[in-house]
Amino acid sequence: MPVIVMASPKGGVGKSTCAAILASEFARMGANITVLDCDPNRSLSRWASHGLPKGVTLHGDIGRAEIVPTIRAADGDGKIVIVDLEGVASQLVSRAISQADLVIVPMQATALDAEIGSEALALVREEEEALGREIRHAVVLTKTSAAVKSRVQKELEEQLRSAGIDLIEPSLVARAAFSEIFAYGGDLTSMMNDPEMRTGGKVDKALENAHGFTEAVYERLK
């Protein structure tokens, strides 16, 4: 089963959110998911401490020395492996990318995110060249506006497309439910069905966005 790696040397772009959404949605489709939390901030481990969706298991505190054998072991178990990486330029990141079937580079629609995120894209291409095989990779824009597409976002999308970079659509909209999933644990469906879980936003819209994003990722894994 495929290995999906969330990579960007910049922190706060939405790597952990993407990982949590994909893990929840693929688990809802019936897959067994292994999530590897390689981020020292332990965002996904905190999510797991409140309860993981059915079918999702998580391994935390994975460092540079363990990443390749851990991915190999989880991959062999017939599970989809989702790797959430630290937001720095490290050997841990380059090693994880080498084991990926799909590298997702989340970035907000800002010049800084695009500039730093492009380092991850360049690294993927250089690894492809050095290893002599394709490592599929794509960008997803995160924390976008639900109401209007900003001028900066339009320009960035145009730049990415003209550079031949695969852009995942839909983008991930800035939704309160996406950030509050880390406070409640579980998935968006449990958040929508449990009256005790209160968010400031529309969970149904977040769920719809998560479905669309996961479908787009699925299409890239076939």
């Binding site: 495929p2 489709m29 050997q91 079937d101 250089e126 690894e127």
Partner: protein
């Protein structure tokens, strides 16, 4: 979006996980600034468990002989005194 039948079509591509391949990946990463950032252990030697001090005054030739013997054996004067003590205890116990 229904179920595991769709997912069964998903397959992983074969990947090399040999030491040589990981080294090549490290080299590519390092050239772009993706270097080893794993936390380092505290530098320096660990503190010795030998925390008690003796301050015996002896004749200079005895002190010099103890120092020379310890150096010859490649151990500290403290370790030599410990060995002498073990020998003394073995003799007094028999």
């Amino acid at each position: 979006m229904s179920g595991s039948n769709r997912l069964s079509g998903l397959k992983a591509r074969p990947k090399d996980t040999s030491v040589a391949e990981v080294r090549r990946v490290d080299e590519v990463g390092e050239a772009r600034g993706f270097v080893d950032r794993s936390p380092r252990k505290k530098p320096g030697r660990k503190p010795s468990p030998r925390t008690h001090q003796l301050h015996p005054k002896v004749f200079p030739e005895v002190g010099e002989a103890i120092a020379a013997e310890a150096e010859c054996l490649g151990i500290t004067q403290g370790q030599l005194i410990e060995q002498m003590w073990e020998l003394y205890r073995t003799r007094t116990e028999t």
